[in-house]
Amino acid sequence: MATDQQSVDLVEGDVVRSFARAALLAVLIGASAPVAIPIGPAPITLQVLFVFLAGLVLGPLWGSFSMVLYLAAGAVGVPVFAGMETGFGVLVGETGGYLWSYPIAAGLIGLFVHRGTDLRDPAEQPLILVVIALLAGLVVIYGIGVSYMAQVLRLDLWEALLVGMIPFIPGDLLKLAAAIAIVKSGRLNVAN
């Protein structure tokens, strides 16, 4: 028994805490899945809001881990994708590009805002920096999402932009504002 215990390699306390938060954020984005308004090959969803928050609140490392976890859970049968869909097929389906872009976007936003892997309070970062970071994230999401969709559905680039980006811009900018309002509200206990 004593030798057993020697070999147990405990996960460090701060890692467990970040991990649990990343997992619950993945749950939250999954819980938002029923809110999906079909308007074309990709529905309007709240997902982008949580991608923003993942980068802002959890930072580059845990933010993108959280999104990878979301994709993995969806791939193996937890109904977390838009419209409560699930399965590996969704990841290679027409909206797969958006999904794969989430970890990258969250990581990028985290890097911009926290400037490294040590977390800072996003509420105290310059607003302009936060806005640029979120816009950059959005560009990544559209870039990967639209080009993959064009590929899979055999659409021209402008056709893909027409159905895969333009209709979402106003809503996604609202989500951007909401994400900033949430972290600035000071009502989240983001301190470590």
Binding site: A20, L28, A31, G40, P79, G87, F88, V92, E94
Partner: protein, 234 residues
Amino acid sequence: MLTYEPDDTLAHRLDPRAKLAVQIGFATTALAHTTIPALAVLSLLTAGILYSTRVHLIRTLVAFRFALAILVIAPLIAALTLGPTWIDWADGQASLQASYRVVLILLVSAAYVRSTPIRHSRAAIQRTIPGKPGQLLGIGIALVFRFLPVIQRDITTIRDAMAARLGTERSALERASTLGIRSLARAFERADRLSLALQARCFAWNPTLPPLAFSRRDWGVLVFALALGLTAVL
């Protein structure tokens, strides 16, 4: 809703890794071919997989109703052309065939979902992805599955709590932001308590993994999956 259902089909007895390989093989080749003969072969294969896993076709199509919209919309968009003639049927047809294969891929993944409990997927991930990331991803999936209904209920409860004290009298924006912030704060509270519970139970990097056996049959399926994937270059 698409979900795991206990049963005794061949797929239920297979190792999740073998099943994952089939999905990847199938997707690889489907994404490479859109000719009508290729789609016919892929359809037959899909039908076989669905039949042997006892996937209910109609129910599954309903579960994927969002994705199915592409079958109509994408070809229409593709067929539209700027300038004279306005409609290019050939473009539309190419897109229709491209959309159809996506539906086949979705159906094949439905067979995995119906035949694989989350804990098997979790074990497969922990065994396949080495080191700490694999470990966290595996446990993480179990947690997402466990907490999804919990958080869904929390969100309803917060809405009720606001309503009970006449939060309904506030503006839509204010209500949405209170609900959003509170849901997030609540999820983080749960995360903090969960992290204590995990630690109290010795959450470790090197646990005993749930048993999973890769049998002869699984090797056979794996070879089949590889072969399927290789047809992508045909």
